[in-house]
Assembly symmetry: C2
Homo-oligomer: 339 residues x 2
């Protein structure tokens, strides 16, 4: 079955590796999308307009799909996973709205970002609204365990975003700090999304933890590739502006790698561009050339592969089944979209 | 007993009317303050720095005090009200941080606002962090009823803020729209803060509703006076910049009143200043003079008095006791701070 429309896949082989997951949860995912649309409703028309702009733009719905697949993997037969998958996407959307304000991004999912189109003010407030709505939905579901997981994840995401802000423009940022940022801002929600699949099914702690470990490693791999793509992808395929991280002075693994491998003159170049943000025409091209010279994008992808292996191994406690296979394939999808 | 330090009271008579409430809950309030400080902690140092800046600035702690007083009024003897009062203040602080970003405010509680001092980006993210933390604290408390009340209140607050943004710069805004804004952005949290006092004590619905009705009317009265003070207070006493609403083109009741009472030339003045935001030296003084000419501040205070009476009458189902008296006195405090 072919994947249609908005999925930002780059070719057949890659498409196929996400295909299994989407096919697996197709009916549930349609319900999730309906639940999301229902819950972004408000009598204040600007709210569904702005929220609808970002939600309708699509995206892969990777996080809610992981909740649905995790529930399927552990044999869950109820319907709570649909509502909770919608909660995950609403939370994610709220953080995207605030991220784009913080980063002053102009593109999101290949369209004008909400802040570029509607302004920063409603983007902040509609983010708050979606955040609150996601908690209202959790309360409807009625599980304190789920509320604990997602209120914790939300706090960790905010901490990661603040840490990212602090390490921005600091070329001395360590690999460890960088990993802490991406664990918090990205992987924590992947982990929570997967863990909830086991929680709704009331499965033993060991399965809950295995799914969370899978989600965490997958999320790290996903973000590593995202950061590699920021220096290597073609804009139309990525749905975002290439070089955003460079222009903002964000310190990601490709840069950390190239900085440490570089000579004094190269280090001075990175400091001028990323610390002082004194950038000229041709600097992004030079940055890309330096990454190529030192194999920094390749090294980042290699790092992602290692986390991919950890994600793979976390699923080894589950018996082979279509859900497990699809969740293994998604690891390849996350990494191979770099090519 | 005298009130010390940071309370922004204007004279003995007024101070006395809040004094009863503070004395009543003094020990609990100290615990609330400790709980707040504990829960804004994070290994990311910027988070407690920024959160501490706004929280240490004080403010009246009116909302958590209302939770404590409401619990006392219905005879609650446990300790859950302390944690939940801290939740209320953390939620309130999160909305203040986002408000100040949205409004581009430079002053808050008489000090530089967090956004002015630390920038918009960390203010948005630390707001998100405090929001998440407040939900983590609610989960620790373990009551789905409380989570339902406060997730709903948060969504309503965000709706109110968006509606305020939409009605800004629109001199045709109706009194009804204005009341919807202040009910949502301000009074909803007052109502929730009071309702929770009855919920923790497991009191009958009629008492819960009476406390919520008291909080709602008190919150409306409080915001009406706040909007009146924006045109009439002395800056040092208010702890914020007088004329902020005017400069931002916010449409509040004093303006709606003066606009409707004004002739065509006056209406043109308001449109130029508040819709087109074409403001010149002397415009704020002219606005204040027009409000005086039409008695618009007085009319706003009169409106607040009516809501004060509703708040008073909501408490009539409770027997006379020190808690009830203190909660009646706080109505006068909220209104009389206008003088």
């Amino acid at each position: 079955m072919a994947i249609e429309g908005s999925l930002d896949v780059n070719g057949d082989r890659v498409a196929k590796s996400l295909d299994g997951l989407i096919t697996l949860v197709k009916d549930d995912l349609e319900q999730v999308n309906r639940t999301i649309v229902d819950h972004m409703h408000s009598p204040i028309a600007l709210i569904p307009q702005l929220a609808g702009h970002i939600i309708a733009a699509g995206g892969k719905r990777l996080r809610p799909v992981l909740t649905l697949a995790s529930a399927k993997l552990v044999g869950y037969e109820g319907d709570r996973h649909v509502k909770l998958a919608a909660v995950i996407e609403l939370l994610h959307t709220a953080t995207l709205l605030h991220d784009d304000v913080v980063d002053e991004s102009e593109l999101r999912r290949g369209r004008a970002s909400a802040n570029a189109l509607f302004g920063n003010q409603p983007s902040v407030l509609v983010g708050d609204f979606l955040f609150s709505r996601s908690f209202e939905l959790m309360v409807e579901d009625g599980s304190l365990a789920v509320l604990a997981i997602l209120s914790r994840a939300s706090a960790v995401i905010a901490e990661g975003e603040v840490l990212q802000l602090i390490t921005a423009n600091d070329t001395e940022t360590t690999v460890e700090s960088y990993l802490q940022v991406i664990c918090s801002k990205t992987a924590a929600l992947f982990a929570a999304a997967c863990r909830i699949g086991a929680v709704v099914a009331d499965r033993p702690k060991v399965e809950e933890d295995a799914l969370a470990a899978y989600g965490l490693s997958l999320g790290i791999a996903f973000q590593l590739i995202d950061d590699a793509l920021d220096y290597s992808a073609r804009e139309a395929e990525l749905g975002k502006t290439v070089g955003d991280d460079f222009r903002e002075g964000k310190i990601t693994l490709p840069v950390i790698h190239a900085f440490h491998a570089g000579d004094e003159e190269e280090k001075a170049f990175w400091r001028r561009c990323l610390e002082k943000l004194e950038q000229e025409d041709g600097d992004l091209e030079r940055a890309t050339a330096l990454l190529a010279k030192h194999g920094s994008v390749t090294a980042t992808i290699q790092h992602a592969r290692q986390y991919g292996e950890e994600a793979r191994s976390a699923l080894s406690i589950f018996p082979d089944c279509p859900a497990r296979q699809a969740m293994l394939d998604v690891i390849d999808f996350c990494i191979e979209r770099a090519y």
